[in-house]
């Protein structure tokens, strides 16, 4: 029996960038959605990144899938329906494990996704939306992702968005030695991109961010220089490579702005990498001579070329994930059997006591303390020996054998409804 887990969402596999941009819900809408769906006994988790938006819900009812889908389209618009996919039960569990292990990422094995899933889980926990089975699934998914990272090459061999951007830069520049990099935004992605570019030979790093303190912190870690956000245009004159990672709702680098700096730049090539969703760089910038702009979808094209080379490592990672999913399902099944066992033993004990008391009451003379002890031990031994095999079988139940618990409940006349509610 699979847990009542459902996932509905869209990702870079199913939706183009402009659709994904629209589904990026602001924090307050995310909170509303989670609170609405996580009314006890249900639980909910919302993973929202630039490449995927997925809503995971655990709860009772046969209409769970429909409710989840309706909630997501209600929050983001009905026209998104063609881009949505969904999984239920163990397929949904496997999907979450694969997402956390970065096997479903745009860049196979990229490290950011695990942090993003953890952030989503923390958000759900803060709101009290992930507390029971969903929390256990997440914990198992994180453990699985860690195993994938340590036991396979998929993490080590992975090309992140940042390193894919460096690869692209090498098609434009004859090496990055002596080049100036401008990071617009000072988050985790900017940090990663900066590190990749510096290790590839970039000579100078400029960091522009709306909050100057964050720019200064990142610049210090990259031995670069923070520049006021207001001086972005002046920085564009100096830069050869620009990496944008801000959360700005509208483009920061417009065609007009870039056109103005072309002459002062003496028409040096300008490589713009826009890793932000919504985009920070106006697509029309690409029409300017000597300007090469790449957004996240373009970077995906680049890395798609590298995916085949990592297929072997990914194959091993898939095996690890499958093992971890099986382990989770096994543990869940054991948890599901515990109430059956408890009820079975309680029922047996109840019968034993009742029959023992009736038998003792029918005796012509009361038993001595020693005799009572012997009879007590004998009946207990009979019950234990009778229940030994069923107990062992139920405890050792494997994935996919949860029907055994159902059968035991049926055979011994246990309260199945109560057991399900506990599970």
């Amino acid at each position: 029996m699979s847990p009542p887990l459902v996932v509905v969402g869209l990702s870079h596999h199913t939706a183009p960038l402009d659709v994904r941009e629209r589904l990026l819900l602001p924090d307050d809408r995310q909170t509303e959605l989670l609170e609405a769906l996580a009314q006890a006994p249900s639980e909910a988790l919302l993973i929202s990144t630039c490449n995927r938006v997925e809503l995971y819900v655990v709860g009772p009812g046969t209409d769970l899938h429909e409710r989840t889908r309706t909630a997501l389209t209600g929050a983001a618009g009905n026209d998104l329906a063609p881009y949505l996919y969904s999984h239920q039960g163990d397929a949904a569990v496997l999907h979450l494990f694969r997402v956390a292990a970065s096997l479903d990422s745009m860049v196979l094995g990229e490290p950011q996704i695990l942090g993003q899933v953890k952030d989503a889980f923390e958000q759900a926990q803060r709101l009290g939306a992930a507390r029971g089975e969903l929390a256990r699934i997440c914990a198992a998914a994180f453990g699985s992702a860690k195993r994938v990272r340590t036991e396979t090459d998929v993490g080590r061999a992975a090309t992140s968005m940042a390193s894919a951007a460096v690869e692209m830069a090498r098609h434009i520049f004859d090496g990055l030695d002596g080049k100036t990099v401008l990071l617009v935004g000072a988050g985790e992605m900017a940090d990663l991109a900066g590190k990749h570019l510096v290790s590839a030979g970039a000579a100078k790093v400029l960091v522009a961010n709306r909050t100057l303190e964050r720019a200064e912190t990142l610049a210090a870690s990259l031995r670069g220089q923070a520049v006021p956000f207001e001086q972005l245009e002046e920085s564009l004159i100096l830069a050869d490579v620009v990496v944008c990672t801000t959360a700005s709702p509208r483009p920061i680098i417009t065609r007009e702005k870039v056109a103005r700096v072309l002459k002062p730049r003496k028409h040096r090539p300008l490589f713009l990498v826009d890793l932000a969703v919504p985009r920070d760089v106006e697509p029309e910038v690409q029409t300017l001579d000597g300007v090469y702009a790449f957004d996240v979808d373009d970077i995906q094209k680049v890395i798609a070329e590298n995916q085949a080379a990592r297929a072997a490592a990914a194959g091993r990672a898939e095996v690890v994930v499958a093992e971890e999913v099986a382990r989770y399902i096994r543990q869940r099944a054991v948890r599901e059997q515990v109430p059956v066992l408890a009820q079975l033993r309680a029922r047996a004990e109840q019968i034993r006591r009742a029959e023992l008391e009736r038998a003792i009451a029918n005796l012509p003379a009361p038993l001595t303390a020693d005799q009572a002890k012997v009879i007590e031990a004998m009946t207990a031994a009979i019950v234990n020996k009778m229940l030994h095999q069923p107990t062992a079988k139920l405890r050792a139940v494997q994935a996919g054998e949860s029907e055994l618990a159902e059968a035991a409940a049926e055979l011994f006349g246990l309260d199945v409804t109560a057991r399900k509610a506990e599970g």
Partner: protein, 265 residues
């Protein structure tokens, strides 16, 4: 001996061109060295043949076949120098077949060529022809580089990242090669004009410049402006690549007008 050298050179170039095309198609790095080796061997044989021919003619090529043979030799020389310096084997896939094609007419050239008249025996004439053909060869390679640049830039702008894309040198390297080649070509073109003016003043002082000479002057002005724009206004990339190709086109017109097989000597 001379014909054997040219025939062997032709076959070596042809095999080198096939090897370069294989590099383009499959990206085999080892094959690039095979291609370079074959082309270099062909070039040496070609050089031996040319020395044997030209040394008997006061170093002045005579007839269309000899001129295109020398042009082909210089084209391969420039290309090999660029390939060895920039490891741009991909260019070979375009230039080697071009060199083979240019060489074809020379396989049927007269050896020795038509006798030079006494008036043509000017000491600066071999220098004039040599720098003119060297300039044309340099601009030919620059044009191939410009062509590859335009294709590569189109792939970058169009986000087409296939296997071919991975084999193309960076845009910056191609642009820098273009800059160097156009600079050397401009120097050769300047020397061509100077020596040409001197030779003409000695041979036919009364003659006015014809379309061939005017085309060279137009190309010289265009490339001069191009270099100025590169240095002072920072022109580069696509615009420069297109102008290089246009300038080379003018030079080809001049060459064909001056040396074409239909031109009466």
């Amino acid at each position: 001996m001379i014909r054997t050298c040219f025939t062997l050179a032709f076959h070596a170039y042809a095999l080198g061109a096939l090897a370069y095309l294989a590099v383009l198609a499959q990206g085999w790095k080892g094959m690039a060295w095979v291609a370079r080796g074959l082309t270099a061997a062909g070039w040496l044989l070609h050089g031996i043949g040319l020395v044997l021919v030209l040394s008997a003619q006061r170093w002045v090529p005579s007839g269309f076949g000899q001129v295109v043979s020398l042009l082909s030799f210089l084209l391969v020389a420039v290309f090999l120098a660029v390939d060895l310096r920039a490891r741009a084997a991909l260019l070979g896939a375009f230039l080697s077949p071009a060199a083979v094609a240019v060489l074809v007419p020379s396989l049927r050239m007269d050896v020795p060529g038509p006798e030079l008249t006494e008036g043509l025996r000017q000491p600066l004439l071999p220098v004039h022809i040599g720098v003119a053909l060297a300039g044309l060869a340099v601009f030919g390679v620059a044009t191939a580089v410009a062509g590859v640049y335009l294709v590569a830039e189109r792939m970058v702008k169009g986000k087409r990242f296939g296997p071919f894309f991975k084999r193309v040198p960076s845009l910056e390297l191609l642009d820098d090669l273009n800059r160097r080649l156009v600079t050397w070509g401009f120097i050769a073109l300047s020397l061509t004009l100077l020596t040409g003016a001197w030779v003409q003043s000695r041979l036919r002082p009364e003659a006015r410049w014809g379309p061939a000479e005017l085309a060279v002057v137009v190309a010289w002005i265009a490339f001069g402006v191009l270099l100025q724009a590169r240095i002072f206004a920072g022109w580069r990339g696509r615009r420069v690549a297109l102008l290089t190709m246009a300038g080379f086109g003018v030079l080809v017109v001049s060459f064909v007008t001056r040396y074409g097989p239909w031109v009466a000597r």
